[in-house]
């Protein structure tokens, strides 16, 4: 009961924060900053998707960017071909979900170990990276959309109002959509974890054998959670495509690594943590990028190692523990 109340409060709080951000920030931020903020939010959603499947399903996916990129590319190609984003969006959600389901089927039903799973997912995104990079030239067009190789698709069309292609969303509106999408996905993830499916998925992470002996099909639950993660990552890809544009970078090793760092730094086993971790590190790397004295990859790598060695539980859980300890000390 108390757990349900707490979940409800967290969901309400998240939706309020998202609503406030969507309402206030476009009024105060400059356009350039707002577009950057949209990028951060789309990345935050990507972090949330990995935080969900890794932290609560124990699924070690090193290539969450694969679904992020597939979502973005599908959106861009479909939007260019249809001339309207109304049906491009559902398609761009369906394709990464289906790819995640197919990859998940091969991995979970083969019952391969964690280490193998990490490598397979990472390799998948790396090969997509190479593939996307090799699509320069006229022979690489899908319908009317050139894939553009290394350069990606700079002319990715922004979202339009449903069934009204001439009425495109302004960057401020894209920001609102992104923030609300993140808030809703957080709420949905919270709710999923309260359902039987979600609780069994968490139980599987705790003790796979016991869950199996209770009569639950472990493979199917992992597959389901992985597909949900693919869906959210795909949505993140659509949002990213709306504020930047799609390019092979979406699949790159450095992005794939960053998602892991966000989740690690924010804290595995929480949903807010990865999003906060994402915002902090994005802000830090953006700042480092302006310094140009330090290569951002070097900074990220060092942070990554520190996160693993020094705060293996992540910032949010560590901070919570310290806070609780201080509060307890404060009591008489």
């Amino acid at each position: 009961m108390t757990v349900n109340v707490r979940t409800a409060l967290q969901i309400v709080a998240a939706l309020i924060v998202a609503g406030l951000a969507a309402w206030l920030l476009p009024q105060y931020l400059e356009l350039f900053t707002l577009i950057n903020a949209t990028v951060f939010v789309s990345m935050g959603l990507l972090a949330l998707s990995l935080g969900l499947i890794w932290g609560f399903g124990g699924i070690l996916c090193f290539g969450q960017t694969a679904f992020f990129g597939i979502g973005g590319y599908t959106y861009a190609v479909a939007a260019i071909n249809f001339g309207d984003t109304t049906w491009a969006v559902p398609l761009a959600l369906l394709v990464p979900t289906a790819v995640a389901a197919a990859l998940g089927y091969l991995m979970f039903f083969g019952r391969i170990s964690d280490v193998y799973m990490g490598v397979i997912t990472l390799t998948t995104t790396l090969i997509l990276f190479k593939f996307a990079n090799s699509t320069a030239g006229d022979q690489w067009t899908i319908g009317t959309a050139p894939l553009g190789g290394f350069n990606g698709i700079p002319g990715t069309p922004p979202l339009n109002f449903p069934l009204d292609p001439s009425n495109q969303l302004a960057p401020e509106q894209v920001f609102v959509v992104a923030v609300l999408a993140l808030g809703i996905c957080y709420a949905v993830a919270k709710l999923i974890l309260r359902t039987r499916f979600g609780r069994v998925a968490v139980a599987i992470k705790e003790n796979e054998l016991r869950a199996e002996l209770l009569g639950y099909d472990v493979r199917l639950h992992k597959l389901g959670l992985f597909a949900i993660g693919g869906f959210m990552a795909g949505l993140a890809g659509i949002l990213f495509a709306n504020c930047v544009f799609v390019s092979p970078t979406m699949f790159s090793l450095s992005y794939a690594g960053q998602v892991i760092i966000w989740v690690l730094v924010g804290g595995i086993g929480t949903l807010v943590g990865p999003v906060i971790g994402c915002m902090l590190i994005q802000a830090l790397t953006t700042y480092a990028g302006t310094l140009s004295a330090i290569d951002p990859n070097l900074l990220l790598g060092v942070l990554f190692m520190l996160a693993v060695v020094v705060v293996p539980k992540g910032l949010l859980p560590t901070a919570t523990t310290i806070l609780l300890r201080l509060m307890r000390r404060g009591e008489p």
Binding site: R196, R199, V200, A203, E206, N207, L209, R210, A211, E212, L213, L214, G215, Y216, D217, V218
Partner: protein
């Protein structure tokens, strides 16, 4: 009458080692059966074949006459088989009640009712809201047992339930298992002779992967071959 669970010539081979070698036995409704044998006799391997964790290299397993040899553990559990592993296998991060509530059932309310009943039946109702990871070893064993009995399975398979227990706890466990037997058929895999004596039902003795003998507890304990097996003498 068809038996509840039957095996026919079950064999499990690991490379050159034959851990279980042509075991055929039948468990009837309501039966309480002990499988005993010294370490390395193939009991635990046999257990893992029954639960679907190992796929036997030869032979077949039947549940009420239906072939279930190829089923995965979750599918076997769904037939109505409760399984308790040797090392307590639990959800340490959850409370006892939450863990037991995860059992399969029709509705959430039903799950909670059954879980509470199972905990109370095992005398640990007071631990319902304690985190499983913080419980003592004996209590953990009971929580796991509660998870096994909560769905009210037709058959319960226990692998060395008394491992790590004191004499007193072992005797209490024997009482508990006899009591559970009033509602469920039970197979106990054990090597603790004292425990088997306390239960005193039909006993199947494993030796070197085969069934050495199968009889009442009294007869088995009186048999010189069984004593030899446990003392390590070769069987002529």
């Amino acid at each position: 009458m068809t038996a509840l669970l039957t095996t026919e010539g079950l064999q499990m081979r690991f490379g050159g080692v034959v851990a279980v070698d042509g075991v055929s036995l039948a468990i009837n409704e309501g039966e309480l059966r002990c499988l005993i044998g010294p370490n390395g006799a193939g009991k635990s391997t046999f257990f893992k074949c029954l639960t679907g964790q190992y796929k036997p290299t030869a032979g077949r397993i039947f549940w009420r006459g239906k072939d279930i040899t190829a089923l995965d553990p979750f599918a076997i559990a769904r037939l109505g088989v409760g399984i308790k592993t040797q090392v307590p296998s639990l959800f340490d991060g959850l409370t006892a009640l939450e863990g037991v509530c995860l059992c399969r059932h029709s509705s959430e309310a039903e799950a909670k009712r059954r879980a509470m009943r199972a905990l109370e039946r095992l005398g640990i109702g007071a631990l319902a809201n304690r985190r499983v990871g913080l419980l003592a070893h004996g209590q953990r064993q009971l929580v796991e047992l509660a998870m096994v009995v909560a769905p009210e399975p037709d058959l319960i398979i226990l692998d060395e339930p008394t491992a790590g227990m004191s004499t007193e706890e072992t005797n209490r466990a024997a009482d508990l298992i006899r009591e559970l037997n009033q509602q469920h058929a039970i197979v106990v895999v054990e090597h603790d002779m004292q425990f088997i004596r306390a239960i005193a039902r039909t006993v199947t003795v494993f030796h070197q992967g085969r069934v050495l003998m199968e009889d009442s507890a009294a007869t088995v304990f009186a048999d010189p071959r069984v004593r030899d097996v446990y003392l390590g003498k070769a069987v002529a």
